[in-house]
Symmetry: C2
Subunit: 399 residues, 2 copies
Amino acid sequence: MSDPSYQYLNPPYRILLGPGPSNISPRVQQAMLAPMVGHLDPYFFNIMDDTVKLLRTLFQTENRLTFPISGTGSAGMEAGLCNFLEPGDVAVIGVNGLFGERMVDNALRCGAEVIQVTAEWGRIVEPETIEAALKAQKRVKLLALVHAETSTGILQPLTEASQLAKQYEALLLVDTVTSLGGEEVAVDDWGIDICYSGTQKCISCPPGLAPFTANQKAMEAVEARTRKVQSWYLDLSLLSSYWSEGRFYHHTAPICMIYALHEALVLIAEEGLEARWQRHLRHGSALKAGIEAMGLTLHAQEGHRLSTLTSVRIPSGVDDLRVRQKLLNEFGIEIGGGLGPLKGRIWRIGLMGHSSTGENVLLFLSALEEVLAAESYPVEPGAGVKAAIQTLTKKAETK
Amino acid sequence: MSDPSYQYLNPPYRILLGPGPSNISPRVQQAMLAPMVGHLDPYFFNIMDDTVKLLRTLFQTENRLTFPISGTGSAGMEAGLCNFLEPGDVAVIGVNGLFGERMVDNALRCGAEVIQVTAEWGRIVEPETIEAALKAQKRVKLLALVHAETSTGILQPLTEASQLAKQYEALLLVDTVTSLGGEEVAVDDWGIDICYSGTQKCISCPPGLAPFTANQKAMEAVEARTRKVQSWYLDLSLLSSYWSEGRFYHHTAPICMIYALHEALVLIAEEGLEARWQRHLRHGSALKAGIEAMGLTLHAQEGHRLSTLTSVRIPSGVDDLRVRQKLLNEFGIEIGGGLGPLKGRIWRIGLMGHSSTGENVLLFLSALEEVLAAESYPVEPGAGVKAAIQTLTKKAETK
């Protein structure tokens, strides 16, 4: 019937400096080789409990409902919206990049009325804009913001937004897909009610799980729903029955992925949260220093740049695709291109988790210099690497 | 804040003879160690194409839309329902076990009107019942049946149901979570319009993906929808844009899981579909012969028993939980208990994929004899094993 030929798996080794996935530690890979047990095995329950505990530490929360959703970060986003929004609810959503737009699409599919608070792709959503939107509505159920916009490299400030959410009695939902494990995220201290992430970025676990947490206030909103959550698979009440003492069977947990996540979280615990954020900051700063020393322009608004993902404007006359293909084919380095209105206008360079190393910064800058020279873009030889080394050898700085 | 202690991963080795997950081949585990690449890497596109091709062979279909959904079998179920059902649509759903019930719950969450066609848990849904339900409605959008009911061990016949679906112009959706890769599934020849499965049963890949296929007729129904699919994550139109030539980014595919699935499908291709079904039949028959020779009673309706999962009535006076705990703790063997109305009344013994071996049949029967003796249940020593060996050494039979 169909073509019977197939190939054997033999992927090339890539240095993953795109917007995710990042490279993973050999210890995380090794964890996936551990013997498979059943999803109702007493041993697996221990690993589940441990994973929950480690996730709480990472999210800096004491929320009872804390566990990985069995899908990628996008499933986490959907769970974060569809459990809390019902037809007729009003949601105010920050949109300054692709993932804000995706939240809007998701929320509309829940039947919610969506008010977008926008900013240019590459700038933060201003607290004043958020307040104006909240003020204009009779009742806002949910305020949703992207902490780290993967499409632009922006780190959204949350302090004022959190105060505003409280003031206007809206739940605060925050997307930390590209920040959790690389930038500080303090769910309880920052007053975040609902928070999700993905495993394949700063946690450096393979893609496939979405760490998730929600507080008591958020879960009371779920209990007060007038109709069932539209997704059975992402229904938090059902999921939490399996992830708590009752162990009520819901679906078969992705065992090997949980093994991998557990090991990745142990690695984070061993490193320490503070040390890990400092590492991401140090390498992100070195990369940015190198980029600017090469005469290139950073895209994201100054003062609000992610350590974990750096967006760089593509100089005019330089071919986006050709540069990225050369980096991939000649140096084994993956970086990301721009999305939406930034397509062809920026590159996105991730330094996340296991990929966030000084060696990768220097290798990337060297490779970029070589590739840009071939594009006839004038770069002072060695300037990028030199600036990066200066930053790398400085003492740990604070943001 | 929280308890800082954690353990290192060190699961016991289990022989997985429950309702899934099954044990996985070392080659499948090994595949997860292959270097991670990005979800938009040209190499990964090759592996995606290959995976699609291998899945088409397994489903016995030429359907263009054939790929793994990035979630477990339950996500496949939800995708199978929420893409095709809109508020007001009528769905006729066969319910003779837990997974039929779950379909009903899912379909109701899509706003559909659901007509249940029921049978006792352990019997097939009769074609006459299906026809009566179809006839009584003005227009049925979807007829949904579970091919292999994991909660009871029943193999649902599909020939008449498929004819009826055509006659009444309903889409035919079939759940093959516990059959695909272990029992014959012929999507095109059997006139199945929408079909999904899970990776962790007869495919013997870790849990986390749901192989999925839908034909042109089904996709025309998606195109004719009046509103967007309520799930963004499971929206087949968006997913198929990523899984076809356009490679339009939707979500980050679970790379390592796709590696594992690819290898599991290569193993199936190497074994051959016919040989694989015969292997499952041979071992399932040997188990059943052994069970009956021990004086135990099979639960599922005769003539409609799965090769892949055998349900056995628990003799009166025998303690369900104690038996299963002894099997687990003293022999490292996992089997499943009953669900819903069958809780405490049956055991469910899976012989799926890599777990379906003659050695496992003999080991299980020996262990069960020992454990039942401790429960003072009278078993003729060696009777089960002897009957199983007789079946195993017979020439390949046909069902």
